[in-house]
């Protein structure tokens, strides 16, 4: 297991390093002169020169790249051009919104998907099964930002139960902050839950056909106990894989949903940074988000290998 983990860790580091290289090439080398890109065509030669100095563009690209990557370890990611504060501070503040939002959505989607999948699979062919799977089929087709708009219209504008957007900050207390995150999290969770419920259903149908389920029943275990103690636990393994694969969609979803609800998270930061052409912020936030996706894939692989020893030899 340790050898497997070490191998995967090595390939994870290589992928991460390559990802930083790609981002650096696209944002710093391809444009030619990043300073001109950031300031626009009409910038005077003095301001351009000043920004070039600030960005260290007079130094070789390889050195700049090295400094930037080292910054992910030391926490020094440079200073935002528009906000005039360290990028790491900006990112840390925005993470306090994005991370809880993504986690809340993840918890909600699994909390919805697993019971739905179990009900559908254990009553396969019934009207409950077909109506739940019909709903899941629609859930997959609904764009999360449109669902978010509908939620705002019903629960914030018409019923006035929750705020329609914005974030009071965690210092305003746990309840107001969670209230502000509730609708965005539901909007993110629904399409995810629809996909997961389908996976859960088919995985559970697979396990229910296994010999050990028949053995458990023959030993006198009740249907209920067999289902939850043996079948559901085994069916969760493929669900975990899909959960990992879906993570990049969750990240993308978070970025869009933050813009629907005006939440000051990483997603809004990245869009503000693009409009202001603040490449210093864009490059680091992109890498952080990509790194999160890669890291989650790694953790899922590891969890998978822990659960199924046969996979370690591969």
């Amino acid at each position: 297991m340790l050898v497997y983990a070490a191998k995967r860790l090595a390939s994870l580091s290589a992928t991460l390093l390559l990802a930083t290289l790609v981002v650096f090439l696209v944002l710093e080398i391809l444009p030619g002169d990043p300073a001109e890109l950031m300031l626009g065509m009409n910038a005077s030669e003095d301001t351009l020169a000043a920004l070039r100095g600030e960005l260290g563009l007079d130094r070789p690209a390889l050195l700049r790249y090295g400094d930037w990557v080292a910054g992910f370890v030391t926490g020094d990611l440079g200073i935002s051009h528009t906000y005039a504060v360290p990028v790491s501070e900006l990112v840390a503040a925005r993470l306090l919104v994005s991370l809880p939002l993504a986690l809340l959505a993840l918890v909600l989607s699994t909390a919805i998907a697993i019971p739905v999948g179990v009900i559908a699979a254990s009553r396969r062919g019934s009207w409950q099964d077909s109506s739940l799977m019909g709903l899941a089929q629609i859930g997959i087709a609904v764009p999360n930002f449109w669902f978010a708009m509908l939620l705002v219209f019903v629960f914030a504008v018409s019923l006035r139960l929750v705020p329609s957007g914005g974030f009071p900050g965690w210092e305003a207390g746990l309840v107001p902050a969670l209230k502000a995150l509730l609708l965005p999290a539901i909007a993110l969770a629904l399409p995810q839950a629809a996909i997961l419920a389908r996976v859960m259903r088919s995985a559970l149908i697979d396990t229910l056909g296994e010999d050990y389920i028949r053995t458990a029943r023959a030993k006198g275990l009740t249907r209920h106990a067999t289902l939850w103690r043996h079948a559901v636990r085994n069916a969760l393994i493929p669900v975990l894989t899909i959960l990992g694969l879906q993570f990049s969609f969750l990240i993308a979803g978070t970025i869009i949903i933050e813009n629907v609800f005006y939440l000051p998270g990483l997603g809004r930061l990245i869009f503000q940074a693009i409009t202001q052409r603040d490449l210093i912020v864009v490059r680091s936030v992109v890498v952080l988000l990509v790194a999160t996706v890669i890291l989650v894939t790694f953790l899922v692989d590891l969890a998978y290998a822990l659960a199924d020893p046969r996979l370690r030899s591969r």
């Binding site: 290589a14 992928t15 997959i140 930002f145 449109w146 708009m149 056909g209 993308a252």
Partner: protein
């Protein structure tokens, strides 16, 4: 004969029939918009703004007085064009890479698959963010970003399918008869994994429609005056109190199209691979 067989397939696979009909209708509306829309969408007529449904405007008009039906038709064209081109990019680059990885194996396979993992870690939205940062927003960015994300998906499917097919007897027979790897891949492996690729193409097409809507909603996709469902939703958001229907129709159009494509994909999978269908009814398929 062929028509009858086709009709029988549709009767046996209702998901395919329903999905195919929806997709056909949306495609027809999009194609029609190339030559005709009820009203021009680049002419603003403030006097006609925010009208309800009527005979002249079945879906009403938007806040600039543009006919919603015409906007939805052009939006369908944008969505389909972007998603189709993105699937094309993904398949044209991804499939040969996957086939190459499967045929050569060894370090090349390993390297290509690691590259795949890398590209897969960049959600289309992040690629679009980077492309927009240097080129500015536009529909072409959306095509590129979604297309790039599609490459590893197709490469993975092609590689998996080729590896599974490559060990079958008829491939072995072809090799014994002296055919080279390239001919074997073109004549035996590709036709055998075509079904897999078609089904995956349908799935990526529907994901592409969703991704295009998301990108143009946040302003990274199609730019005005080009109509796009995502942009229409973006503009409708500020008008939710006054005219909720502006946000309703484009959203429903997206849901309907994606639903149709997904049903079509499910139906195609069943129709193209009868074994899968049988196994599924026994509860063993994925």
């Amino acid at each position: 004969m062929a028509v009858r067989a086709f009709l029988r397939t549709l009767r046996q696979h209702r998901a395919l029939a329903v999905g195919g009909t929806i997709v056909g209708l949306v495609t027809a509306a999009a194609a029609l918009s190339l030559v005709w829309t009820p009203y021009p969408i680049d002419v603003l007529s403030v006097a006609d703004r925010l009208q309800g449904p009527s005979l002249a405007h079945p879906f009403g008009t938007d806040h600039y007085g543009r006919d919603m039906l015409s906007m939805l038709m052009v939006g369908a064209r944008t969505s389909i064009a972007v998603a189709l081109l993105a699937v094309g990019i993904g398949a044209l680059i991804g499939v040969p890479l996957g086939l190459l990885a499967a045929a050569r194996g060894g370090w090349l396979d390993e390297a290509l698959m690691r590259l795949n993992d890398l590209v897969f870690a960049f959600p289309a939205l992040l690629s679009a963010v980077m492309i927009t940062a240097i080129l500015g927003p536009g529909a072409v960015n959306a095509v590129l970003a979604i297309g790039i994300f599609n490459i590893p998906v197709f490469a993975r499917v092609a590689r998996g399918g080729a590896l599974a097919t490559g060990s079958r007897e008829f491939v072995l027979a072809a090799r014994v008869s002296g055919k080279g790897q390239l001919r074997i891949t073109a004549e035996h492996i590709l036709p055998n994994i075509a079904n897999l690729l078609i089904v995956q193409g349908t799935i990526q097409f529907s994901l592409g429609i969703l991704a295009e809507a998301g990108l143009s909603y946040v302003g990274l996709g199609a730019q005005p005056p080009l109509a796009s469902w995502g942009r229409m939703l973006n503009e409708a958001q500020t008008m939710m109190m006054m005219a909720p229907s502006l946000a309703l129709y484009p959203g429903l159009a997206i849901v309907l199209t994606v639903l149709g494509l997904n049903l079509m994909g499910d139906g195609l999978r069943d129709a193209l691979d009868p074994r899968l269908k049988r196994r599924r009814s026994q509860g063993m398929a994925p």
